[in-house]
Amino acid sequence: MRKTPFHIQSRRSFLKSSIAGAAVAVALPAGAFAQAKVLKVAGIYTVPVEQQWVSRIHIAAVAAQERGDIEYTYSENTANTDYPRVMREYAEQGYDMIIGEIFGVEQEAREVAADYPDVAFLMGSSFKEDPALANLSVFDNYVQDASYLSGIIAGAMSESGKIGMVGGFPIPEVNRLMHAFMAGAKEMNPDIAFQVSFIGSWFDPPKAKETAYAMIENGADLLYAERFGVSDAAKEKGILAIGNVIDTQPDYPDTVVASAIWHFEPTLDAAIAKVQAGTFTAEDYGTYSFMKEGGCSLAPYGTFEGKIPQEALDLVAKRTEEIKSGAYTVTINDEEPKSS
């Protein structure tokens, strides 16, 4: 699928991990990390590490390295066709854990994992774990809690009652966030109509932008920005947008009202602890992205502080409490969303 058979091990990250390793070695006699082994962790990503979804994983791994829990290195922009090979290379080099995304190589990646039973694989996947393959666990960004809250705000901020949603592909992780967002918006305003389009690409901002323009022409006054390019169309046409996975408000201070952010830290930290304790087994780490676990949150309102109706803020606050206490559960719906 990708035309970039190119993977590099960032020299900088290698240096950094060496330095961090040295720092840990110095710290060890002090007893700070005396009991836990410093894991060698490799990340393999199909896109550059700054691209939204992967950036969340990378940031969590860098944080774990700075804490001294792991030694981290990574290969970015690895084509799916090279992916299994790169997995093998790290496994052969004696890495304890490999993290990454196998949405495009589900079958091959599992075959590689089966060949290296002593290596823990923590992989983003659309599928579930396989009990017969004890060293491969799956995760995904189950941030529907935050998406739902951002939907409440969107429902209150849209005046035309038309919300446009531009997605890449209707895969489960995209669908469930869209559905949660729609549920939130409907709770504030049951009459809201949604226009849903998929552009058939993850990184085609010009196309996402064109699709967003068409939605705005069609009367949408608020856009759910699942893809890059959508917030740009909103900014140009002076309408509002809701961010997804990362906080995009700093780039669009006047138009991005709220963002649903994913935090990968709980997922990674749980896996690190299990590998260190020797209890890592086939599991679905999806729940670590739930709000209860600190896996997602609504970005600070920032420039929109004071501009969001109190009614919506109250509901967001109430639901946040209920989600955290378990009194309210956001429905997980992986079906492809349709326009209404």
Binding site: G200, S201, P206, A214, S339
Partner: protein, 314 residues
């Protein structure tokens, strides 16, 4: 909104022209190469390199047109490499072209990472803004569609016009076309087929890169890997569609773009709730293939396309 409303709206045609612009640059570039007898499959990678080079130059402080010039030069550099391998060395044009595409995308990512080792997202630039041409932009329908675009879109149309004039109205154009039809005749005239073909590939590759730069400097204001997303391959088909004629190729690009703009809009009508979105995304390609079948019947392929020329052999 039904089909007629969509087809009669200026915003629809404006979108079609916007989507067509990068395709026009790259299609004209490919057309020049093929007219001289060289198939340039490096197009996709050269567009990626151009998209990156133009954007990063502006980010580094060059003016917008300076960025366009850098993209042009980067494209010409890859074109030079392609032409050395494909013309004097006479290597397989398929292999050379695919190789150039792989090299250009890889070098682009390498350069990207060296220049921007740690960023939270690719930086944005101040991209070309739409410029309304006085008087012309007041014409109903046509005005907003054609004459309220960014300067780079106007440049695409001017380029197509100039290319047509040069190819069919000048001795240079005649020599280029002859190099693709009957290189022995060119050699018999005392002209260098090698020089003509290399020149065509270098210049054509430069235009392809500008097509890529359109994506990061006009259609959008930042660079993402994969954002060219197969547009280069579409341009190869558009050259065939246009029967190796610039005017027809431009029409083909606009037609393809119009189908694309249309599917985006139809997806949002009530039809979108019943028909799977993949059908809509497929529409521009399916319709273009149909049009291609009809149009290409009368097309005259340059006779010496993909045939290496060795001076003195028959």
């Amino acid at each position: 909104m039904d089909l007629f409303d969509i087809l009669l709206s200026a915003s629809f045609w404006a979108a079609a022209i916007r989507i067509a612009s990068p395709l026009i640059f790259a299609t004209i570039g490919e057309l020049i190469c093929e007219r001289a007898g060289v198939l340039n499959l490096g197009i996709e990678g050269i567009m990626v390199a151009g998209a990156f080079a133009g954007w990063i130059s502006v980010w580094a402080g060059l003016p917008l047109w300076g960025g366009v010039a850098v993209a042009l030069l980067v494209g010409m550099a890859f074109g030079a490499l392609h032409s050395v391998l494909s013309v004097p060395f006479g290597l397989s044009q398929h292999v050379v072209g695919v190789g150039i595409t792989l090299l250009a995308t890889s070098v682009t990512f390498y350069t990207y990472r060296v220049v921007l080792p740690e960023v939270s997202s690719p930086p944005k630039i101040q991209a070309f803004q739409p410029y309304e041409i006085p008087l012309l932009s007041d014409i109903p329908l046509l005005g907003p569609a054609l004459f309220s675009q960014t300067p780079l879109t106007y440049a695409a149309f001017v380029l197509a016009l100039i290319t047509g004039l040069v190819l069919f109205r000048t001795p240079l154009g005649l020599a280029v076309r002859a190099a693709g039809e009957n290189p022995s005749a060119v050699a018999a005239q005392g002209l260098s087929v090698t020089a003509i073909r290399m020149g065509a590939v270098i210049v054509g590759s430069g235009f392809m890169a500008v097509g890529g730069a359109f994506l990061t400097m006009s259609a959008f204001d930042s660079f993402f890997f994969d954002m060219v997303g197969g547009r280069g391959w579409i341009c190869i088909a558009l050259v065939v569609f246009g029967a190796w004629r610039p005017g027809k190729a431009v029409l083909g690009a606009i037609l393809f773009a119009a189908f694309d703009a249309l599917q985006i809009r139809v997806q949002q009508t009530s039809l979108g709730t019943v028909i799977p979105y993949q059908i809509f995304l497929m529409m521009p390609y399916v319709l273009s293939i149909l049009a291609l079948v009809l149009m290409s019947r009368s097309a005259q392929v340059p006779a010496a396309l993909m045939v290496p020329f060795n001076k003195g052999t028959r």
